[in-house]
Subunit: 452 residues, 2 copies
């Protein structure tokens, strides 16, 4: 919805809320898409949200609940009764229901699970038993399956029976008597087949599938590689236990890139731009404290050369330039390397090649940027020998930045840690130390040699 249109709806809503005209509010809400209602909630007071949420039909309420961010979910949970929540959760697909219930306080979760009908409750409990970042954690229980002996007509009847409950049906899964997956039949093939044929004649008997334990990132890669819309999930005995649909995979892909992005900047992945200031403060300050530690370490290098700076105070002017360029060059390298790791372009066998490449790029960047910086320092009035020191230190530091920027994420990965985790803080410390040490160290040598 364009921003202006949304604003009209908001104005209408505000008007209706202030007059307390429930009929009018319901009418406005019925015209809005769930994601727009969720967006509108962001600018509403908590009381308004409580009023509005209760006026939604359970199916829209469940969509809105899934669309809002963590903070608004907490607001909704603070006023909604368990009975109301059961109605909302009941409308969700089993994977979403499991995710929502898993995030509730334990007591609340038990009440909601008991409120659902037994089949659904068991289904949700089963889904909740899988780790969130695996195929099992991403799958939904809703799917259409038929026995391998079924005919096409019986399969179509099964689709008919389930089409209300199962969304986005693009294929039917074929299982044997033990419940093991033996094939997948695409809907368009079903459409074109002879109704009396056995389903097995039109099913793909070697379908792409995922084990429940497969990591969600791998699941996403398989979807992209094979351009899938849905994929069956099987347990260790090849029994069909669920399916994953493309919309959940899109979320995984989005999350993965975005988590790298956040982790590199030392941010908690749960933070959002509309969070309350104190929440952001609490989430960011621990990382800044780590950064304070690394900054003190880097400054201890400057401390060593206090005497040198005393002799030639212009060093204090030029030193941040060498360090700062190192920081930015290192950020370029880390970003490319982290992206390469995420895309699977970097493997153990080419890790050395990547480091060598980044060292080379760093060296040539250093030569060029160092030459320009040295020349600029000279033109701006520095002694030519000081320009030479700037040139040499910049070359050294951008070389260090290339090696550090490539090595730090690769080491983190090797240690089975997240390669993006605060690498900007660590590599900046690295290039600060490199910049201060090479520049001030060289200057000290030049001074000692009587060249400066």
């Amino acid at each position: 919805m364009p921003e202006t249109l949304e604003k009209d709806f908001l104005d209408l809503l505000e008007g209706s809320i202030s007059t307390g005209d429930e009929v009018a509010i319901r009418e406005v809400l019925s015209e809005m898409h769930a994601s727009d209602i969720a967006r509108a909630f962001e600018s509403c007071s908590e009381e308004a949200i409580a009023t509005l949420f209760r006026l939604l039909t359970p199916d829209i309420a469940s969509e809105v609940f899934l669309e809002v961010d963590e903070r608004l979910r907490d607001v909704i949970l603070s006023f909604i009764s368990s009975t109301e929540l059961v109605e909302v959760v009941d409308e969700m697909e089993s994977d979403d229901a499991a995710d929502v219930i898993a995030d509730l306080p334990t007591r609340h979760a038990a009440t909601v699970l008991d409120g659902l009908d037994e089949d659904e409750s068991n289904e949700v409990r089963r889904l909740m038993s899988y780790p969130e970042d695996t195929a099992g954690g991403k799958m939904q229980a809703e799917l259409i399956k038929v026995h391998e002996n079924a005919t096409v007509r019986e399969t179509i009847d099964e689709v008919r029976r389930n089409r209300e409950e199962v969304e986005k049906i693009s294929n039917v899964f074929v299982v044997n008597t033990a419940g093991q997956l033996v094939g997948v039949a695409a809907l368009d093939r079903l459409l074109l087949a002879n109704w009396s044929d056995p389903i097995s004649t039109i099913a793909d008997i070697d379908p792409v599938k995922a084990d429940t334990e497969l990591d969600k990132e791998e699941v996403a890669k398989i979807f992209q590689r094979h351009d899938l819309i849905t994929m069956p999930v099987v347990d260790s005995s090849n029994r069909l236990v669920g399916r994953i649909t493309i919309d959940d995979v899109v979320d995984v892909i989005e999350e993965e890139i975005f988590e790298d992005f956040y982790r590199m900047a030392s941010l908690n992945v749960g933070e959002r731009v509309l969070d309350a200031p104190m929440r952001s403060f609490r989430m960011r300050v621990p990382w800044l404290l780590v950064n304070l530690g690394t900054a003190f370490c880097a400054s201890s290098v400057v401390k060593i050369f206090e005497g040198t700076i005393e002799t030639l105070v212009v060093l204090a002017v030029l030193m941040p330039i060498v360090a700062g360029l190192g920081g930015n060059a290192a950020t370029q390298t880390i970003t490319v390397v982290i992206r390469g790791l995420a895309l699977g372009d970097i493997k153990q066998r080419n890790a050395r090649r990547i480091i060598a490449k980044e060292a080379t790029v760093g060296f040539f960047n250093g030569l060029l940027i160092g030459a320009v910086a040295g020349l600029a320092a000279f033109i701006l009035g520095s002694n030519p020998m000081l320009g030479l020191v700037v040139f040499l230190a910049m070359t050294a530091n951008l070389f260090i930045a290339g090696i550090g920027g490539a090595t730090v994420p690769l080491i983190l990965k090797r240690l089975k840690l997240d390669p993006a985790l605060s690498s900007s803080i660590f590599v900046t410390a690295f290039t600060d130390v490199g910049g201060f040490f090479s520049f001030l160290g060289l200057a000290a040598l030049f001074i000692k040699a009587g060249l400066l």
Copy 2:
């Protein structure tokens, strides 16, 4: 494919290439998925790629060509004849064909277009006329459409006739005599309908659709909001001109986030980790030169206070700490704001609120980090008044970092520029200036007042 398995294939391939055993090579290749062949090409010599590519069947060759990166495409284009290229392009969906041809040198492009059969050539020319970042640029011409007067049986016949040519059929588009879109019929509804019914009775008559000119980011948002698998594209007169499928949208979503990520780090979005060093060098060095300019600006602030540093050289030791923390705090803010802009959480009406929020977070971060830093400076031997200067300067700089980090991307957005574009370089310059100025300026005042 797991890394070890892929390595086995590579070893097999290398073995077969060295013995020149074409039959063996073809056999290994036929076992591999196109994306694995593309991956394997990355570690092959140019000659090996030429040999291997020619042994692929046209359909696999076309998939491989689409999977490899820009650099390998150039390698393939350097040895392939126009006739061979026509065969490869002929296997592609029209949208991919249009993208590939658009990237060819003009003369080469004309030869390939002339080589395709007339219908396909016209189709591709039509698709090439839309800007790449619009719905028109992302759509493909392959789709199944029927006249609104058709019966379900006639519609199913149409699906049957086209199923070889059109991939991922999840619905059929219904048009009137003027070619205007009047509805969409989902495949599962087709399956359950009476064959003699008119298609209009089961079609959704108000389908979600995109205009050819709609921005690709908006297209992606609509897909996500409505959980679509495919969407019709219409021209300004509502005539059906193509369809967009979810796999193309996944690529758009991935690209968008990843471009933000790259632009923030001042990287060219075309760069990949396996690029040749000189290519990376050429792409990165312009940004580092911009950074050199901003770094000299920031250092000119230090230059102003040369006399102050001469009086108290320990200021040169502590000054990078204040500046560095500002840089990292600003990076946190920019990252959150850029993400918020991408998600649509930030609009004109809440821009002020975001800036106020980030200023608040910056201020409280400053108070806490400033207090710890001041105390640490004091404990490490500084005069207590110097600790106070560290505290005040840090508070001021993190406050500046919050305002700058939120304002710079919002201003870039307002100016219709990419908010992520090198914002890390500009905001780092901002916080360097802020850090140096507040810290050295306060120190100068304290010295003048006889407090230091």
